[in-house]
Symmetry: C2
Subunit: 132 residues, 2 copies
DNA sequence: TTACATGCAAAATGTTTGCAAAATC
DNA sequence: GATTTTGCAAACATTTTGCATGTAA
């Protein structure tokens, strides 16, 4: 994990970080691009991608890879898991966590040096349930 | 889940299914394409993608979405989880499973009708550990 | 002033799709 | 013989990259 201090603090970088932090959900790169464009109309998608990478590498945002082809980004960098609505594509945090020693257990089983895990639930969100 | 019986049994379909079943790891679509090409040199990538979709929909193979951009396919359709080597990209099964009532718990927490979950560990595999 | 960051456009990657011909049932 | 499936190529969506220019430190 590189420190952000190694990087320059540009207007674009700040706007992108703020966009993620102000987002209520788990925005994709192009959603962040649209948000950033409101204050920096000439910002490019490439810059958004490059900065999301930098911010993710330096631990300031979290990159989520849920079902589907797009990456999502998360302002919440603490340990937590996610739930994906298979109906509307919504991604939400879920306040459920694995036991802390699970990674140790899996390390023993697999022989890997386990560095992390990703747990995503799928289901139908309350809104979609009620819509039927 | 559609039954495969609704679909015709073509040579391509069989070759693709066999390729997944005979694979030792968790091949990607293009790896399956290369395998299939050994017996059907004129098979197309589109056919591979279409058939993997059919086989996955009918529950005969499992589609895996691990970190990284590509989908992987798994001959093992029973409940199990995966571990990804962040060093070489290898994906392996891991004989660790969540408690069966976790989904019920998460349903209660989130208000979702939970239909599944996906748990993937990341780490460094024994081969990559020893290579240093 | 110089190394890093940007905008732009093109390329790369992985996957899906339209269509006419071929194969299955 | 009707319908599904195929091969091919083009389209698609997302992400990455090369490069000349701009900018923070």
């Amino acid at each position: 994990m590189k420190e952000l201090a190694e990087h320059r603090i540009t207007r674009q970088r700040q706007v992108i970080l703020n966009a993620v932090r102000e987002s209520t959900g788990h925005p994709t790169a192009s959603e962040i691009y649209e948000m950033a464009r409101k204050s920096l109309p000439r910002i490019s998608l490439g810059t958004v991608y490059r900065n999301l990478q930098v911010l993710s590498d330096s631990g300031m945002v979290r990159t989520l890879k849920v079902e589907g082809s797009k990456k999502h980004f998360d302002r919440n960098i603490s340990r937590h898991n996610h739930i994906l609505c298979t109906c509307c594509g919504r991604v939400e945090d879920v306040g459920y966590d694995l036991n802390a020693d699970v990674e140790k257990t899996v390390g023993g089983i697999s022989g890997y040096k386990v560095t992390g895990h990703c747990l995503t639930f799928t289901g139908v969100c309350p809104r979609c349930k009620n819509r039927k």
